[in-house]
Subunit: 214 residues, 2 copies
């Protein structure tokens, strides 16, 4: 296998690769073997020149005048994104949003395996959530579990006031990637830590602005 | 009041305005009257020149060498974003994720009032969710409720296979803004419809890529 190491791919491109990946997944299930950039454009809502540009960025996946070989393109994108393997993930904060994510079946389908959840509430410890029966454990166990299962990604769904403390514990457990749903800016202690923010209110703010200014 | 109509503000700027807005909210609660771009930088994680640039974009909120007046800046951003009024919102699809969002208290705090939820499952109709006891109704009621409460934003949290049908109903009810959590591309029937996508798997894909390529 070729080794894809492109430290400078823009985040917007990565986001689009993730979208192509899911669409290609569906095409494989439908038995489609070749897809044109025009068809990918219809399925993704992105324009065809953008798609062609994104895909040539990484080498030659297409055959001029024919299209892209679905399985080849799919596998290459998986390799580029680093999702050609399973990722073990933990979740911290088993409130309403946390429980919803533990039951969200698309993570598992796309190769993200939430192996354990963590909470400080004694009444939640020992309970299991979701179809995969993900167990809830005390925060003290994060380090042990992270090491044992080679966990690289943690999802934070705690209230804002606990999120920084939880980040500290996650970093001590040598987990590099954090997806933070708590609406608060976190300060990493280590250079290697990567934090991404999912902010649901911001989505509503952006929409309110679009409607107001249209 | 001045009338802010800037159809061409980039989405990235809007996202940052939303972040400034929340931070300023917190500063008001702490009784802070003036804030420097340096302090805003610490609180948001964005760099100070970027912040100064964003804020001059809309006029003069700052006093050189002193900083920004917190309340004035806060109110101006609310006006720009169109969140200086309450927005009535509906949610369609009362599964795990939908229920979590109905219980998510930050929406209400920031001026987004989910007034009703909708589902096709008869066992859910008539139930109430969240601290605001949001009632679940059949999809047939969307049009009536949207008109009665002047609803401009709908959140879709249905399975992928129902999302397009739900969008059609939402558009018939003359709701302009749609925030879609279903991992599928939707096709609007009207020019005026604005759809934004929140894709949780894409967030994990981006993180997996960052870790793989670092």
């Amino acid at each position: 296998m070729r080794n894809y190491k492109f430290p400078k791919i823009p985040e917007a491109t990565i986001k689009r690769l993730s979208i192509y990946h899911r669409v290609l997944n569906e095409l494989i299930h439908e038995g489609v073997e070749v897809v044109s950039s025009h068809r990918l454009s219809e399925l993704t809502g992105l324009n065809a020149p953008q798609i062609r540009k994104d895909l040539t960025y990484f080498g030659e996946f297409g055959v001029r005048g024919v299209g892209y070989f679905v399985i080849h393109l799919h596998d290459s994108i998986r390799e580029i994104l680093g999702i050609n393997k399973k990722w073990n993930v933990i979740l911290v904060g088993v409130g309403k949003l946390g429980q919803a994510l533990l039951s969200y079946e698309n993570f598992e389908k796309q190769g993200y395996h939430i192996i354990a959840a963590f909470d400080t509430d004694p009444s939640k410890i020992g309970k299991k959530f979701g179809t995969n029966e993900i167990p809830v454990m005390p925060l003290d166990n994060i380090k042990k579990i992270a090491k044992e299962y080679n966990v690289k990604i943690a999802i934070i769904t705690t209230p804002s006031e606990s999120a920084q403390i939880v980040l500290n514990v996650i970093e001590e457990a040598e987990i590099e990637g954090v997806i933070n749903f708590a609406p608060i800016k976190l300060t990493p202690n280590k250079k290697v830590t990567k934090i991404s923010y999912v902010d649901l209110v911001t989505e509503l703010d952006k929409m309110a602005f679009k409607i107001t200014s249209s």
